[in-house]
Amino acid sequence: MTINLKVWRQKNNADKGRLETYVVKDVSPDMSFLEMFDVLNERLITEGKEPIAFDHDCREGICGMCSMFINGRPHGPKQGITTCQLHMRSFNDGDTVVVEPWRAAAFPVIKDLVVNRSAFDRVISAGGFVSVNTGNAKDANNILIPKPDADDAFNAAACIGCGACVAACKNSSAMLFVSAKVSQFALLPQGQVERAERVEKMVAQMDEEGFGNCTNTGACEAECPKSISLENIARMNREYLSAKLLANKK
């Protein structure tokens, strides 16, 4: 099949950037979307042109590094998968496909389709952990956790930190990402000690990074490759409110 690509090219953060058109022929339906980019880049290199920079690593949908905004949707048209797992059989011969980077003030473009997502790391550093030094643990089965709670915590913890939620949101909100981590620990006994402090600090850092607020549109949940639930945002709001109320009591 033949695919007409319109790809965002931007030399660096100072460059204004523009869409450029590439026609890719002989695309196999079994190729992944990124493999199509490999083929295109191979051609660009042979033609003496600059290949397209894009982030990718594991190519099995778990590292969270790939990040393409395809036809107006993060990770493309299919639900519950990352760009690297999107295969060309999801497109038709002759399709025009527009590929852009994640767009958000907190995710500045580095080059072409590559953005800087270090804001997420700083949000985790602010409180997305259980403060337990190595060597302080008791026997694992001394902490009994009801299976439903463990499952819910796992579902929240499945977030891969790719940033699709931010890219999908009209407000560039990171609430789905932040709430997934807050929820994981709020649901587990290990997270109780720092429960209030954690949510306050993470939300403060999220605001400082320039992420927008949540207006319950739900685009994040619809586009999340790991189907992280919007319930987590509700839980985070509850956690945040109770943390504030508790703080006021003191």
């Binding site: 590292c63 590094m65 550093s125 643990a137 009994l144």
Partner: protein
């Protein structure tokens, strides 16, 4: 045979059971005040790197962490699926530290160090405790206790897991511990940085040269010690289950600076991967070994059978693992299972369009689970449809994400038709030679996790990589590093304008400029794919003398061609992924040759290293313990020139025997 004087393994005295306990209690310490002025560089942020960095920072050391990805959370440990072993004996099925130790030595085909493996088994339980304390959401039973499953090469259930995302959850646990230290200012994080050289001053590792991948700027960083936690080198084969960026560069630079490289030919070919679909393929995807718990592997009994799997009746199927290895069945170790798949396909029994695949079938597991579930739910006389429906939901809970992934990649639904699988390069048991302290032959330079060679012998058992990475980082290096650092408390930070830093930066820069200046006609991938094909054909699942000799000559020629004809676009002062790849492939082109040299020198079959000349009558690997019960540690001397140093493997506690999974 005797151990080379250059290899001091520093294995402590005492009985096997007491070595680690005694050593841990007597290894020299660094007092808290001195720790504050000691700097440690950690390269790589996977399970080994993140856990080591977090723990060392907790102890009070000043730590710098480097990773080439955009965040430490993306390191390839994240992709490990199936689980992590630990000798907890929660299942009351006869597990113990000794049994885990024994299984690991045997699984490694008697080519690992007893003392290291026993230590690994001893700390395995602590890892689970630590991870649970961090909030890692392991799978649990209804009573709230942790759940276990089986993995290859064992007859107990000792594998802890979090669906098919165990690596992700463990890495995120270590990552959050690391980010906590970053937030506290105890760790400085350098993401999108790649180490290009190690700086050696007066014989000791004292820092690194790193390239900021965003700006292209070369940076100098001092450390009293340097820890390489940079993973394995499976990408030398181009197609592997490794991430696209996984590379050998840090380890290889260390090797060229004097760190010996041990058992480079010991690579693991994983049994259950999705087969190659075409020339465009950029990587191979693993289907977790945990699938072999419940899935049954078969091929048609008839050669070139083109019927769809579901139309082949039961009596015309050859469940060849169950047939050949009744005791372990589908759960034989990876090397054995991979070779058996290759044997069937080579003999003409393969399935799928390429005929290079075998079936992994879930039909009987779905039925079995369906019946159990119907019983649990009190459904009497369930219909076959009900059973299948219930069974599918159980399978979905256990392996859902893996089944989804298979469907996404192949376009086939594994709940309805058997999966097609074929072996693929997955893990490298070889790596930098380290002593009991995890120190390489360069004082102050350490290698942890997959980057070292020490614990898995010639074949790693499933769910043991996560265990080793975290053992090294959380529970080994924090103690053993004291042996070296206690002697460094008077060493002031060395300014980075020292001539050794000048030289290292200059040579790193020259290499970058050289790659850009060739302006040849072929892309980096072109060379990488050709190298991969040579390695897979001649140094893959089966090897022989002629093939290896041919491969060595071909690799030398390919390397010469690369340095004459590679085309690297762009410049050195910007984000340039092609330049990054070029540097890594240049190193693979040297490593590939050493792997073949090592494979050629080892005139026996053991674990993942199968020399066709050395096999039993029924095609099993044939070791020659009298000649090859040693670690082959290679010292770099010049291009294509290495000196072999041997470390004898003494088995004092285990009777060395031919592995028998029958």
């Amino acid at each position: 045979m005797s151990t080379s004087p250059k290899l001091k393994s520093k294995i402590p005295d005492g009985t096997l059971e007491n070595k680690w306990t005694k050593y841990r209690s007597t290894v020299p310490l660094v007092n808290p005040a001195n720790k504050r002025s000691i700097e440690i560089i950690v390269v790589g942020s996977g399970l080994a790197g993140s856990s080591a960095a977090a723990t060392l920072a907790e102890l009070g050391y000043k730590v710098k962490v480097f990773c080439f990805q955009d965040s430490p959370r993306r390191a390839h440990s994240i992709a490990a699926q199936g689980g992590i072993n630990a000798a907890k004996n929660y299942q009351n099925d006869g597990d113990s530290v000794y049994r885990l130790f024994y299984d690991t030595i045997k699984g490694g085909d008697y080519r690992a160090r007893e003392a290291n493996v026993h230590r690994l088994a001893e700390v395995s339980g602590n890892i689970i405790d630590q991870c649970v304390a961090q909030g890692v959401p392991f799978a649990r039973e209804y009573g709230g206790t942790l759940s276990n499953r089986s993995f290859g090469g064992t007859q107990v259930q000792r594998t802890f897991y979090a669906a098919g995302q165990t690596g992700q959850q463990l890495l995120l646990g270590a990552y959050t511990a690391l980010q906590r230290q970053v937030g506290m200012g105890a760790v400085s994080m350098y993401a999108r940085h790649e180490m290009l050289d190690v700086v050696v001053i007066d014989g000791k590792a004292r820092g690194i040269i790193a390239r900021d991948l965003t700006t292209g700027k070369l940076e100098r960083h001092f450390g009293h010690a340097v820890l390489l936690c940079t993973g394995g080198y499976g990408n030398v084969f181009f197609l592997s289950t490794n991430a696209m960026g996984s590379n050998v560069t840090a380890a290889w630079k260390a090797h060229r600076k004097g760190a010996f490289f041990a058992n480079p030919c010991f690579t693991q070919i994983h049994t259950t991967c999705i087969p190659v679909s075409g020339d465009h393929q950029s990587k191979l995807t693993l289907m977790s070994e945990s699938l072999r718990n419940d899935g049954r592997i078969w091929v048609p009994k008839k050669q070139n059978d083109t019927r769809p799997a579901t139309q082949i009746p039961e009596e015309e199927r050859d469940y060849y693992l169950e047939r050949r290895y009744p005791a372990f069945g589908n759960l034989v170790p990876r090397d054995v299972a991979s070779r058996a798949a290759k044997e069937r396909c080579d003999a003409g029994y393969g399935v799928g369009t390429s005929k290079m695949a075998v079936y992994l079938d879930y039909a009987s597991a779905i039925e079995r689970y369906g019946k159990i579930e119907a019983n649990k739910q009190g459904i009497h006389h369930p219909s076959q449809d009900e059973i299948i429906k219930l069974g599918k939901s159980v399978v979905k809970e256990k392996y859902g994400n893996l089944f989804d992934m298979y469907k996404q990649i192949t376009g086939e639904d594994p709940y309805e038709v058997p999966m097609r699988i074929y072996p693929a390069v997955h893990y490298t048991m070889g790596g930098l030679w380290v002593d009991y302290n995890l120190m390489t032959t360069i004082p102050g330079l350490y290698a942890l996790g997959e980057a070292n060679f020490s614990d898995h012998g010639a074949n790693r058992l499933g769910a043991s990589a996560l265990m080793q990475g975290l053992a090294d980082g959380y529970f080994v290096i924090p103690y053993t590093i004291g042996e070296f650092l206690s002697g460094e408390i008077r060493t002031k930070a060395i300014p980075t304008d020292h001539p050794a830093f000048d030289d290292a930066e200059k040579s790193a820069d020259e290499r970058v400029q050289k790659l850009l200046s060739i302006k040849g006609t072929k892309s980096v991938d072109y060379f990488h794919k050709r190298l991969g094909k040579i390695m897979w054909d001649e140094c893959g699942m089966a090897r022989n003398e002629n093939g290896l000799k041919k491969a060595i000559a071909e690799i030398q020629q390919l390397r010469a061609e690369f340095w004459k004809d590679v085309r690297v676009p762009g410049s050195s002062n910007e984000l340039n992924p092609e330049l990054e790849k070029a540097g890594r492939v240049a190193d693979f082109l040297e490593l590939g040759e050493l792997m073949c040299v090592d494979a050629l020198g080892r005139n026996e079959s053991c674990g993942g290293h199968f020399r066709e000349e050395h096999q039993t009558e029924d095609g099993e690997a044939l070791r020659h313990d009298d000649q090859y019960a040693f670690v082959a540690a290679w010292e770099y001397q010049a291009d294509s020139k290495w000196e072999l140093h041997k470390e004898d493997l003494a088995y004092e506690n285990i009777k060395i025997a031919q592995r028998n999974y029958k």
